[in-house]
């Protein structure tokens, strides 16, 4: 719904109207010209002295009729008109200064209002660019010069529609609305004033640690984001980006209490293959872990000996702790017990977490005891005296004999060294995205009449939100099978995506998909509005 002031509403929707319009053409290509952002936000107003040279009020030249089509369904608005004048100043080959205004890509605005309303309060209903070459006819018999011009709304801007881009990377819990606004700012070059109808927050955050958009066009990217909350993007008459709601079950945005302004209501014959089932495919916010074949995760060599009671070594499955594995087991390639003399210890393996483990070798208490004994006996041997044999007149070196025995102990202790070689084997786990699908089918659909619409969107990450959107989409698709049309005396409040209520047959709510009007001088145009009957 376009917002209007009370004054605007009372005059523009009244019974007595003096309809007027203004066709503005802006030169945006010559140096020093205003930008489209300045035209949209009004800083390059028609009265502005700075930009007066770049402004042409083409209203006096407009030949009848001037036609405005807003086809909806994510397509650009389309304005066609002819310019008539006696001097041929719009001739593209004529070399006049005025001809620059009808060059490709110049900006055209249609501003509608009323004689009784100050022209500053008139409402812009179309902002777009001239597309292609202006047609020009010099008719000698009719003695007239006629230029035909076609302009398309901002949605048709090639960069918005066709140029793929790569976005920056967003982290976790970034509001999707912020990403959409960033795309509009960075890729479409829209400024604050062109974005003040686009909500900054959609109340829905990103779920993964890294989120980026690669090789989508800006409008595709924005619409994919908006799909998550059941919305779609559009440009309004002022040339500002706006969103509209695809929920057809919501209340009416505008209610006509009488049929005074309504011309006709039509139920058209229509060949429509309506979808009766909607399948949404998103990515589960939980990353799935897929098992890989068993592999060697780590190898380690541990030298052991008398010098430490427990030998420990921590092993990682990958140097950067990125590899995750389960069922990790220790394989002993060479045991510490395959040593020369004794069994040296027990080998243990503990899994620390999914990324690492610990290999330990506990030295047997015998080795510890041996070490203590060495200490004690070395101290004791010094105290043992030699014995004198008086009969043989010799001195028996008891101390030395005992010392030799003790040296054998030291020799044993030094021999108590070994090394073990180990390998940790396990099942590596590969993290992968897991697709989540939701199918909502209309009740009572026969198998062979199933017509399913598939929507793939990686921004969907939760079952509940997917169910809600799939339900909303199915009701929308079901409504598409029931097109309705009506004509209304130029109602400038209406925009695509609005729901209007008509007091017909107990009440009829119509979701507006498109409209068109032909504007001629001196009469209030009839708007032909097409849409779908809301349930």
């Amino acid at each position: 719904m376009r917002k209007m002031t009370d004054t605007q509403t009372s005059i523009l929707e009244g019974d007595v109207r003096q309809y007027r319009y203004r066709l503005e053409i802006w030169d945006v290509l010559t140096s020093g010209a205003p930008t489209i952002a300045q035209i949209v936000n009004g800083s390059a107003a028609a009265a502005s002295a700075t930009f007066s040279a770049f402004y042409l009020d083409a209203t006096p030249f407009v030949g009848q009729p001037l036609r405005l089509d807003e086809p909806g369904d994510k397509r650009a608005a389309h304005l066609t008109f002819t310019l008539l004048d006696i001097s041929g100043q719009f001739n593209p080959d004529g070399g006049t200064a005025t001809a620059t205004f009808v060059q490709n890509n110049q900006v055209v605005r249609l501003v509608e209002g009323d004689e009784a309303l100050a022209s500053a309060s008139w409402i812009a209903t179309f902002t777009g660019h001239i597309r292609g070459q202006v047609g020009f006819t010099t008719d000698r018999e009719g003695i007239r010069f006629q230029a035909s011009v076609a302009a398309y709304g901002r949605r048709a801007t090639p960069r918005y529609l066709k140029q793929g881009f790569t976005s920056q990377t967003y982290g976790k819990q970034v509001d999707l609305g912020r990403i959409a606004i960033d795309v509009a700012r960075q890729q479409m070059g829209l400024g604050d004033d062109e974005l003040n109808r686009a909500p900054i927050a959609l109340g829905r955050g990103t779920q993964f640690a890294a989120n980026s958009i690669v090789d989508l066009t800006p409008l595709e990217a924005i619409d994919k984001i908006l799909e998550v909350v059941g919305q779609a993007s559009d440009f309004d008459g002022d040339g500002r980006l706006r969103y509209y709601n695809r929920d057809v079950t919501r209340g009416a945005d505008k209610q006509y209490d009488t049929l005074q302004l309504i011309g006709s209501v039509t139920i058209p014959q229509a060949e429509i293959e309506a979808f009766n089932s909607v399948k949404l495919i998103g990515l589960d916010k939980q990353i799935a872990l897929v098992e890989q074949p068993e592999q060697a995760l780590a190898r380690a060599m541990i030298p052991v000996g008398f010098w430490r009671p427990t030998h420990e070594i921590e092993v990682l499955w990958s140097e950067d702790r990125s590899l995750r594995a389960r069922n990790a087991t220790l394989a002993v390639l060479t045991s510490v017990n395959q040593s020369l003399l004794f069994e040296l210890g027990t080998e243990r393996f503990t899994v620390i977490d999914d990324f690492s483990g610990r290999i330990s070798v506990d030295i047997t208490s015998y080795v510890n005891g041996l070490l203590t004994m060495i200490g004690v006996t070395l101290a004791a041997k010094a105290l043992i005296p030699d014995v004198l044999n008086v009969f043989a007149a010799i001195t028996i070196p008891v101390g030395r004999i005992i010392e030799a025995l003790l040296m054998a102990e030291i020799y044993l202790a030094l021999a108590t060294v070994s090394s073990g070689q180990y390998e940790v084997r396990g099942t590596a786990l590969l993290p992968v995205y897991q697709e989540l699908s939701v199918i909502v089918t209309a009740d009572g659909v026969l198998d062979y009449l199933l017509n399913q619409k598939e929507i793939r969107n990686d921004w969907f990450n939760e079952l509940t939100e997917m169910t809600t959107v799939a339900q909303l989409e199915l009701i929308f698709e079901d409504a598409q099978a029931k097109p309705r049309e009506f004509s209304v005396h130029n109602d400038l409040e209406l925009e695509i995506g609005d729901i209007v209520y008509l007091p017909i047959g107990g009440g009829l709510r119509i979701w507006i998909e498109s409209f068109s009007k032909e504007i001629a001088r001196g009469m209030v145009p009839m708007m032909r509005v097409a849409g779908y009957k809301c349930p």
């Binding site: 074949p293 989540l436 209309a442 169910t467 009957k533």
Partner: protein, 167 residues
């Protein structure tokens, strides 16, 4: 409306030209005599969405793929006539599919004038999904009688881990 028809045709056209899709290997690779000459080719069973396709070959001798174990997500390429081959590993695995039935909202005129509006009712239906793993020792005895199923045999299970069939 020709416009709607055009949209549907375009959507179908887009669907028809998608040459690649994601799948999931659910069996081990086995060598089978693939042509009349008996050329041996490694093939596996692959799950695509809710469907299972048998005898899917690997695009080239990709060792990493041949060693892939059941449950590994793979990238598949489809020919114009619908034949598929495994071309690589994928980052997307299948999850479950949740199906619902929706009683659509309706506005129905009443005999006394005015409308009666029904609201939409969402009826939750089935959850479907597949996984494959080696049968447990207990299942070895129950699936086909003790002694018939070899140790480490693979089987297909549904989303609630109920045995479906041996692979």
């Amino acid at each position: 409306m020709p416009r709607d028809l055009l949209r549907i045709l375009l959507a179908e056209r887009a669907q028809a030209t998608i040459p690649e899709m994601d799948g999931e290997i659910i069996s081990r690779f086995t060598l089978v005599p693939f042509d009349t000459g008996g050329t041996l080719m490694p093939v596996a069973e692959v799950r695509i969405g809710g469907d299972i396709v048998s005898g899917v070959p690997v695009a080239a001798n990709n060792q990493e793929l041949l060693e892939a174990i059941p449950g590994t997500p793979v990238r598949l390429r489809r020919s114009q006539t619908g034949r598929i081959e495994i071309v690589g590993l994928s980052k997307r695995a299948f999850g479950n599919t949740y199906s619902f039935t929706l009683v659509l909202p309706r506005s129905l005129p009443t005999t006394s004038g005015g409308l009666i509006t029904t609201s939409s009712i969402l009826i939750s239906g089935a959850v479907s999904g597949f996984s494959s793993r080696t049968v447990t020792l207990g299942e070895l005895a129950t699936v086909s009688g003790f002694g018939f199923t070899p140790l480490e045999a693979l089987a297909l299970y549904n989303q609630s881990n109920t045995f479906l069939r041996l692979l």
